[in-house]
Symmetry: C2
Subunit: 199 residues, 2 copies
């Protein structure tokens, strides 16, 4: 429908996650009529990230150096490791300002359907980190879905024999949410994990 | 929250139309872990479009040459011009395969709120095209919203004195739609424009 290179751009944009054919077309036409300087900034930002960003040698978080900001920080407690699926989950946990330990990014979750097993994740690297005895608690903060739960269960069985405390963030009702809109699994978990009010 | 250049990329992506902060983050992390070759293809597609795409000298449609594919095509009827707001509207009309004339891209619609008047659109260029007497019909296919209607009315008043046939695509119920879900203005227009069934 479009001149070749415009269609090429729409195709490439359409491969991005969450960008359907309509959005791809909209973004392409936006870029077409945008200021060249603005487009250069976008292209530069993409290229910079691809050139400079790598993965932390210890935890696999994204970084511009050998070690990430958190692994470099001596104020972060090395005795607690929070295991997450993706580097973006690190940012989500950091935003809470509740956690002062270190991280371990698995690079995904166990999913037999997608053919992802423990060997495809950074499980061996995690076990190596636990072998020096400095770590006392592991928080398994994988996603609260089927794959995330399976991964947490797998890791808990692997780690518990080492005598470490293995925990998982609570499931329950989202704060600020509405009880009547909660799905039954979440509501069930919330009841199961109910706490005694100390009044 | 993120290392500097990752945040820069998220910011740049967030400036694209329809890309919110969450999608920007998702796309950034996708690019981070994507194959370098795939990312190079995207960057190349963006750069190519910025370098090579220009606007047709006659109708302002997007093109890689001085004239667009449609203005170059001798089989397209030069006596009918379809006026649209944006180049992407050309593609929408082309997809119907109903129209065999030429186009004129205005570059927007009259919008006093956004400070866009007739002088900011390619109205003068349209009037020049009409001055040689080859055109007999103008189809005003601006958007069926407030700005589009105002633009169509403005252009109709300007063009009618030249003795040309000035038309506008019908408003009405979307084909395949459901009458009960139609908004009252659309339904009103559909009744207003009702046609005698020839059975």
């Amino acid at each position: 429908m479009y001149e070749g290179i415009v269609q090429d751009l729409i195709d490439e944009l359409g491969r991005l996650p969450g960008v359907g054919p309509k959005s791809a077309q909209r973004i392409a036409f936006h870029l077409l009529s945008a200021e060249p300087a603005e487009v250069r900034k976008l292209v530069h930002a993409i290229s910079e990230v691809k050139e400079k960003i790598r993965f932390c040698e210890v935890c696999a978080n994204v970084t511009e150096d050998a070690l990430c900001r958190i692994c470099r920080d001596p104020r972060r407690d090395p005795s607690v490791i929070c295991v997450v699926e993706e580097a973006k989950d690190v940012v989500a946990v950091e935003r809470t300002r509740e956690f002062r330990g270190r991280y371990h990014v698995l690079g995904g979750a166990i999913s037999p359907i997608e053919g992802i097993g423990p060997d495809d994740l950074r499980v061996r690297e995690l076990m190596t980190r636990l072998s020096d005895g400095a770590v006392t608690e592991i928080i398994l903060a994988t996603d609260p879905n089927l794959e995330g739960e399976a991964t947490a269960t797998y890791l808990a069985r692997l780690i518990k024999p080492l005598g470490l405390k293995v925990t998982r963030p609570a499931s329950g009702l989202p704060v600020g949410g509405d009880l009547e809109y909660a799905d039954e699994v979440t509501l069930g978990r919330a009841f199961e994990g109910r706490r005694l009010l100390d009044v």
